[in-house]
Every structure is written in structure tokens, then in C-alpha cells.
């Protein structure tokens, strides 16, 4: 298995990441707008400062030189210094916010599976019942609402009107970090981010389980007289779960994307606001750092998904 993983990383991961970062750096460098734009807001600015700043940030060099320099730093696990006035290491900037985004993403995945799987199973078990139709309806609602809209509605109902949950943000200054506190701050954003996951997991679970329930080998099991319940849970479930696992790997990109908007609405201190700000300010090192990190995470996610699929299904062995 390790050989597989190493090969995947070398043959697939590295070239992909190289191509990706090259393309991204090219796009942001040739684009209009510049990292020194904000100097416009400084009154009485001595104009020599602009050229000095550009030289300091390496902007006076051709794109390929800048890219290679950046790559050289990345290999040494150094993502460079942010282009903004604080010039803090990009690794630190990302590190300060990453846990929050990871917590949010994980929570939404847990919600997605925790609610989606049982709901999907029940839906399949009671196929064509009222329960099934209602669940299917809500699942469709879930995948049709733009997340910012759902989030704002939740905030309006639970934070403003009912005042039972905070309006966003994270622990206030001086507030103790209790477990309940985490739940209160996480609940609405995770629900908003996870809505799409809950809905799609539920539907895929239902479809997958139904497909398996119709398999021939299960007919044999039933013919042998085992009770319906055991039939479902033992045999069908295990097989039905397999495609869902791969689903996880594919869901990661959309979760990270969705997190950007959700974090904005809920003032969640994750990477989302940093990413948007970095793009607006043409903060090249931060843009590259965040995108690189997400790309790596997505890639790892897909490997994990494939490997765990192979683990679970004894029929598969990867070449």
C-alpha cells in the first residue's frame, strides 16, 4: 500500500501541484492591479517609496524569476512574507486561522454524515413512504439554497429573533473556552456549510442502499430466512457505504469553497477572510500559500478516500 501512496504522490501529486502553482502565479502576476495599490491612501507619500516597495517585494523582477524564487522557498517549507504592511510570515498567518477552518469543515462533514447516513438509510428502508418523500423534499431544498442565504436566515431566526445562539464570531475576549461554548459558536455555521453535504449524503446513501438491496446475493440471504433487519444492516450497509467513502474525497473541494462564504457571514476566524483579502490586495505570497495548502489537502483527501475504499472492499486491489 505504501508503494501505491508514494507512487501516487510522486507521479500524480507533484506534477499536479507544480502545474497548479505555476498557472496560479502566472494568472495573478499578469492580472491588472498591484500589491502597492494601497499606498494611494497615504497622504504626503514621497513617491520614491513606491519604487522602493516594489523592489522590496520583488515585483520588479520577471514572473519566472519570482515563481522560481517562491518555489525554492516552498521546498524549504517557507511560504515567504506577506506583502501587507505587517510583513508577517505566511506560514504564521495561515497557521493562526487554519484550525478554525478545519474545525468548521470537520464539523460540517460530521453533520453531513451523522445526519445524512441515518436519514438516507431510513429513506431507503421506508421507500416511497411519506417519510421518504418529505426527506427527499428537504434534501432537494438543501441543495438548492445558496449557502449565504441559508446562513443569514438561520442567523435572523436563532440569533436575532430567538436570541438563543450568538450572532457569529468566536469566543469573545475573556470568555472561557467551554465545550458548550464551542458547540454554540459552531452550530449555525457548521449547519450552513454542511447543508449541502447532509442533503447529498442522504440521497447517495438512499440510492446506494436501494441498489444493493436489489442485488441477487441478498435475495439468497433472504431466502435463507434471516430476519430482514440483519439482512439490511449487516450485508447491505457494508456494501452501500463503499461509494460514500469515495464521495468524501470529492466533497472536500466544495466544502473548502463553501467555507469562504460561510466564514464571511458568521465572522468565523478561519482562512476565508484572509483568502478574500489577499486576492483583493494582490498579496501574492498569501494567495499562493492558501491555494497550495488547499490543493495539498484536497489531494491528500482523495488519496485517503481511495485507500480506505480499497481497505473496505476486499475485491479491489489497486494496480
Amino acid at each position: 500500500m505504501w508503494r501505491y501512496i508514494v507512487r501516487r504522490i510522486l507521479l500524480q501529486g507533484i506534477p499536479v501541484l507544480l502545474g497548479f502553482t505555476f498557472l496560479l502565479y502566472l494568472i495573478i502576476t499578469i492580472a491588472p492591479g498591484s500589491p502597492v495599490t494601497h499606498l494611494r491612501g497615504v497622504p504626503e507619500l514621497d513617491t520614491s517609496v513606491i519604487a522602493q516597495r516594489e523592489a522590496q517585494l520583488g515585483l520588479d523582477q520577471p514572473f519566472i524569476v519570482q515563481y522560481v524564487k517562491w518555489l525554492g522557498r516552498v521546498v524549504r517549507l517557507d511560504l515567504g512574507l506577506s506583502f501587507d504592511s505587517a510583513r508577517r510570515p505566511v506560514v504564521t498567518l495561515i497557521g493562526e486561522r487554519m484550525p478554525a477552518t478545519i474545525i468548521l469543515s470537520l464539523s460540517s462533514i460530521i453533520l453531513g454524515w451523522g445526519i445524512g447516513i441515518p436519514v438516507g438509510i431510513l429513506s431507503a428502508r421506508y421507500q416511497y413512504s411519506i417519510f421518504d418523500y418529505v426527506i427527499t423534499f428537504f434534501a432537494f431544498v438543501g441543495i438548492s439554497i445558496p449557502s449565504f442565504f441559508f446562513g443569514l436566515t438561520l442567523l435572523y431566526v436563532f440569533a436575532l429573533k430567538l436570541n438563543v445562539l450568538p450572532a457569529g464570531g468566536f469566543f469573545m475576549a475573556g470568555e472561557a473556552h467551554t465545550f458548550i461554548g464551542y458547540v454554540r459558536y459552531l452550530l449555525l455555521p457548521a449547519l450552513t456549510l454542511g447543508l449541502g453535504s447532509i442533503a447529498s449524503v442522504a440521497r447517495y446513501m438512499r440510492a446506494s442502499l436501494l441498489e444493493v438491496l436489489n442485488e441477487d446475493y441478498l435475495r439468497t440471504a433472504r431466502a435463507k430466512g434471516l430476519r430482514e433487519k440483519i439482512v439490511i444492516y449487516k450485508h447491505a450497509l457494508r456494501n452501500a457505504l463503499l461509494p460514500i467513502l469515495t464521495l468524501m474525497g470529492f466533497m472536500l473541494p466544495s466544502i473548502f469553497s463553501g467555507a469562504v462564504i460561510v466564514e464571511n457571514i458568521f465572522t468565523w476566524p478561519g482562512l476565508g477572510s484572509l483568502a478574500i483579502q489577499a486576492v483583493n490586495e494582490r498579496n501574492y505570497p498569501v494567495i499562493m500559500g492558501i491555494n497550495l495548502m488547499f490543493a495539498v489537502l484536497i489531494f491528500l483527501g482523495s488519496i485517503i478516500a481511495d485507500v480506505s475504499y480499497a481497505f473496505a472492499d476486499p475485491r479491489i486491489r489497486y494496480e
Partner: protein, 536 residues
């Protein structure tokens, strides 16, 4: 008779005791100041550029002077100063016994260090332009001199600055926080921007820095040994709040002060425990004409377009009344403001049509004005990000259409828009200027200035601007700027839209607020953060 007098006196006395009893400040509590953007973490007064870092810097550090609500300099670290007859020398006399947060005394040495850093050849910040007229500054910057004769430490509590020419805006520039040289002198100036100090600042101000959680909040605590008296509140927190959820944060009592947008006014005004303060800001928004183009080089065209845009409607309906229609570049919040001889350019489409006709623009077959075969059609660059600007642009487009002018809206991301403006590849665009404390318009309007986007090259304007910088008497400066503004108001290189008006929402538990705050609002002015107190 005597008895009645005594009773009246007693009544008055007891009433005044009652009244003043409510006015006695209470110590303690945590004040939460809401901002929509979190600071960067560059808490260094000579290296910061973002206003969100400035919130923290303003309370952690003290400068030689401090700007009050009328934008006038008041003593702070300097207990007094003297300006020479020719206006080229300022001598500051410092208080004795001011201490930094680590207990070390602040002396003239620290003041010199702070300003020498700005003039240093390897200085990476942006403030050099404020001080490049100090004697010897240029030579020092170029590396041909080792010292700056323009900065002279006379003794521990006296420091003198000399300039090569009188420069009126200089005095107000001495508000920058004083750095502790004993902590920083050993760090090479070129490496100052990555120093740990910037994230753990030590100043001599009313609040001490405690911690900074990025994208969440910054916590500061009262400086018990503050030279000018300990602030009333114990803890000061700058809390990040997402724009859309501001009303909910206010409702849930999670912040004590935040500025709100005009379209949130109605909702917040219905909250009983929140008071609203409206105050003018030192900013104005505008629509700039590219005067390098022949069609915009004619003042009549610019004036006609201004007459043809209903700015009153824009302020009343789109801004919900939160704004003041502007016709000159110095806002009402500034001491240099004038309305004498200023043409208000009221909305008058007929007059506009007349002016355009005089300039040679006649309606063509399709209704669009044309002259010598060229149609009056232009692109209007609108940076993204503000709903109000978007709505203004739509109204402008419609008003112009009624005049027979075709405006093509070009919404662009801000940085990209600036790129186009810098390259002078625009017809018209809209932005706003956030102004410095001193009204000197050189940086924006002088013909040699980089930021002179419209391309306004006018000898008389240049002359007045230069004169305004040299004149140190404030009354005379006012006159010069009044004359200059009348010129600008006639020429209209940009159409002025509105002066900024801010709305501050304050929780009623906050007491001691100045009912008539200056352009920085009731709470951005640092002295107010030290005088307010909380009552729960």
C-alpha cells in the same frame, strides 16, 4: 426672605449634588469596540499604513502632540512648544516623568530615535514624505550624511526641529507615537518591520497591549501608571464583526460601539439600549474627469454634467440623508471649510443642456449629443464593494441618459480600477479620499503630484497650494484655501459628490460621551476612550 433664600440655595445645592453624582466616573469594566476589519499586527507608529492598526497604536502610544476634535494640536508628551518667527524652528518641551509601559522614562532621546528612524536610508515605511523638509533629511536619506542637523536634542526634555523652509502641515505631523529607543535602537532599521516588537508593542499611552487574536479581537488593559491619569475602563477590546451581522451583535449586547451603514440605521434606531450619533467625517467622494481628453477639457462640459446629476436625490434617498452634498474639496469637518463664493451646482437639467450646447454639443439623430461627428459617450469606472456606490452609478447613468449623454458603467474590482486610473486609462471614475488632519491639498491636487488623477494642471491652483504650505498663520491659511477652493469649485476637475457622514451606535451603558464629537467620532478620538466609563 432669608429663610426662602436658604431653602432655594439648599434645593439648588442638593440638585447639583444629585446631578453631579450621576456624572462621577466609575472605574472598571470592559469596553468592546467593534470593527469590520481586524488589524494586521503592525502596531508600530512609524511603520503602519492601515487605519485598523491605528486604532491600537493610538491608545498604546503617545505622541508629542495630540489632535483634538477641532483638528488642532494639543500638548501631550510635549507640555508646550515654541515656533520661531520665521516658522522654520519648533522646540518641544517634554513633561518630566512620563514612563513607558516597562517603567523606563521617556526622554528626548526617544523622540529623536523615532524621527531619525523615519529619515533613515533603510526605513521601510511610508512616512518620509511628511518630514523630508527637515534640515539635512535628504542628505541623510541619500546616505551622504551621518546625522540630521534638523533634529537637535538639547537636553533630556527639550528637542528642536528645524526645516529648510516653512511648512505649515508639519506641526500636526508630530502626533506619531514615540517609540522606546531602549528596546529598539539595537535593531537595524531595515529589519524593524519584522521585529517581534510590532506584535507586542510598548508605548507610553493610556492602554497596555495584552494580546492579539487574528481575525477575532485585540485586548488591551488600562495603564495604571499613565502620566495623565489612569483611564476609567479596565479593559479595552477591539472586536471584529462581520458587516451584515452588526445589528445582531448590537442587539445581543456583544459590542459597545460600532459604526453602522446608512441602511442599518432604521433597524438599529429601534433598539432601546443603543444610542446613535451622527458625525461628519474627513472624507469626500467624487467623480473624476480625465481632463487630458479634449471633451473634458472644457469647464462648461464638466459643469454641465455636475448640474445634470441630482446629487441631492442621491444623498437623500440612496444615502438616506447620511451625507452632505459637496462642492469643494475641504469637508465641513475641516477648519479650512468654506461656503463663501462656492457654487452649489443645483440639479438643473435645462441649464446643463444649455451649457453643453454652448460647448458645441448638439443632439444627434439618436438623441445622443454629438459634436464634430463625435458622440458624447464615455465609460464610468466604478470600483466594486459598496452598495451605495453601485446605486449612485445607476442613478448617474440614468440622469446622463436624460441629458443625451451615454454612460457605460464599468464595474471593476478596486485594485484593478486603481491600475487603470494610475495608467490614466479612464474616461471618468468614482472614488473617495480619506483626508489627513492637515488640509494641505498638495498631494492630491498639485500638477506634479502622482495622485492628480484628473490631470488638473493649473498655474493659479499650484501657486495657491504652495502658498498655503508656507503660511503658518492659521487665519491667513484659511483665506488662501478659501480662494483655492473657489477656483476648484469653478473649474470642477472632479464632480464632488458628498462629504462623508458616519453613524456611530453606542450602547447606553457607556457614559461620558462628547455629544458633539469631531470628524473621528465620539470614540476614535483617543482622549475620549480615556474619559468614558461604563455603567451597568
Amino acid at each position: 426672605m432669608k429663610k426662602r433664600l436658604v431653602i432655594v440655595l439648599l434645593l439648588v445645592l442638593s440638585l447639583s449634588v444629585l446631578v453631579s453624582a450621576q456624572e462621577v466616573p466609575v472605574q472598571g469594566g470592559t469596553f468592546r469596540y467593534g470593527t469590520t476589519i481586524n488589524p494586521r499586527g503592525m502596531f508600530n507608529p512609524v511603520l503602519y499604513t492601515e487605519s485598523y492598526d491605528a486604532y491600537i497604536i493610538d491608545v498604546v502610544y503617545d505622541g508629542l502632540i495630540e489632535v483634538d476634535a477641532n483638528l488642532q494640536p494639543q500638548p501631550k508628551v510635549a507640555k508646550s512648544w515654541e515656533i520661531s518667527e520665521d516658522g522654520m524652528e519648533i522646540t518641544f518641551y517634554l513633561h518630566e516623568g512620563i514612563k513607558f509601559h516597562d517603567g523606563v522614562e521617556l526622554t528626548a532621546k526617544d523622540v529623536a530615535y523615532t524621527y531619525m528612524t523615519i529619515l533613515h536610508p533603510e526605513y521601510t515605511g511610508v512616512r518620509y514624505g511628511n518630514f523630508n523638509m527637515l534640515e539635512g533629511a535628504q542628505e541623510y536619506k541619500e546616505g551622504t550624511a551621518d546625522t540630521v542637523p534638523g533634529i537637535e536634542v538639547i537636553d533630556d526634555y527639550t528637542i528642536r526641529f528645524k526645516t529648510i523652509r516653512p511648512h505649515a502641515p508639519l506641526l500636526v505631523s508630530f502626533g506619531y507615537g514615540i517609540l522606546p529607543s531602549h528596546l529598539l535602537a539595537d535593531i537595524p532599521v531595515g529589519e524593524l518591520e519584522t521585529a517581534d516588537f510590532n506584535l507586542n508593542p510598548i508605548g507610553s499611552g493610556p492602554f497596555k497591549f495584552v494580546e492579539f487574536l487574528t481575525d477575532q479581537h485585540v485586548t488591551l488593559e488600562a495603564n495604571e501608571d499613565y502620566f495623565f491619569g489612569r483611564p476609567n475602563i479596565d479593559t479595552l477590546v477591539f472586536q471584529k464583526v462581520s458587516q451584515d451581522t452588526i445589528p445582531i451583535f448590537l442587539q445581543q449586547n456583544r459590542i459597545d460601539f460600532i459604526e453602522i451603514a446608512p441602511d442599518q440605521f432604521l433597524q438599529v434606531s429601534e433598539m432601546d439600549h443603543i444610542d446613535l450619533y451622527v458625525y461628519e467625517a474627513l472624507s469626500y467622494s467624487y467623480i473624476a474627469f480625465n481632463m487630458r481628453q479634449a471633451r473634458f477639457d472644457d469647464a462648461r462640459v464638466r459643469q454641465a454634467i455636475t448640474h445634470g446629476f441630482d446629487r441631492e436625490l442621491y444623498v437623500d434617498l440612496i444615502r438616506e440623508g447620511f451625507g452632505i452634498v459637496a462642492n469643494a474639496p475641504m469637508p465641513q469637518a475641516s477648519w479650512a471649510y468654506t461656503d463663501e463664493g462656492i457654487n452649489p451646482y443645483p440639479y438643473d437639467p435645462e441649464l446643463a443642456a444649455q451649457l453643453l450646447a454652448e460647448a458645441g454639443w448638439k443632439p444627434g439623430a439618436d438623441g445622443i449629443l454629438e459634436k464634430d461627428g463625435e458622440k458624447l459617450e464615455f465609460e464610468f469606472l466604478v470600483p466594486e464593494g459598496s452598495r451605495l456606490t453601485e446605486q449612485m452609478a445607476l442613478l448617474f447613468q440614468q440622469n446622463m441618459e436624460d441629458l443625451g449623454i451615454k454612460v457605460n458603467l464599468m464595474f471593476m474590482e478596486f485594485s484593478a480600477a486603481v491600475d487603470r486610473v494610475d495608467a490614466r486609462e479612464f474616461d471618468t471614475f468614482t472614488m473617495s479620499w480619506s483626508l489627513a488632519v492637515d488640509p494641505d491639498p498638495y498631494g492630491i491636487w498639485h500638477s506634479t503630484s502622482l495622485w492628480n488623477d484628473p490631470g488638473f494642471f493649473n498655474d493659479e491652483s499650484d501657486r495657491l497650494i504652495e502658498q498655503g504650505r508656507l503660511e503658518t498663520d492659521i487665519e491667513k491659511r484659511k483665506e488662501i484655501y478659501a480662494e483655492w477652493q473657489r477656483l476648484i469649485n469653478y473649474e470642477l476637475p472632479t464632480m464632488f459628490l458628498n462629504y462623508g457622514v458616519s453613524i456611530g451606535a453606542i450602547n447606553e451603558r457607556v457614559k461620558g460621551i462628547d455629544a458633539d464629537p469631531g470628524p473621528y467620532g465620539p470614540l476614535v478620538g483617543r482622549q475620549l476612550l480615556t474619559t468614558i466609563w461604563l455603567e451597568d
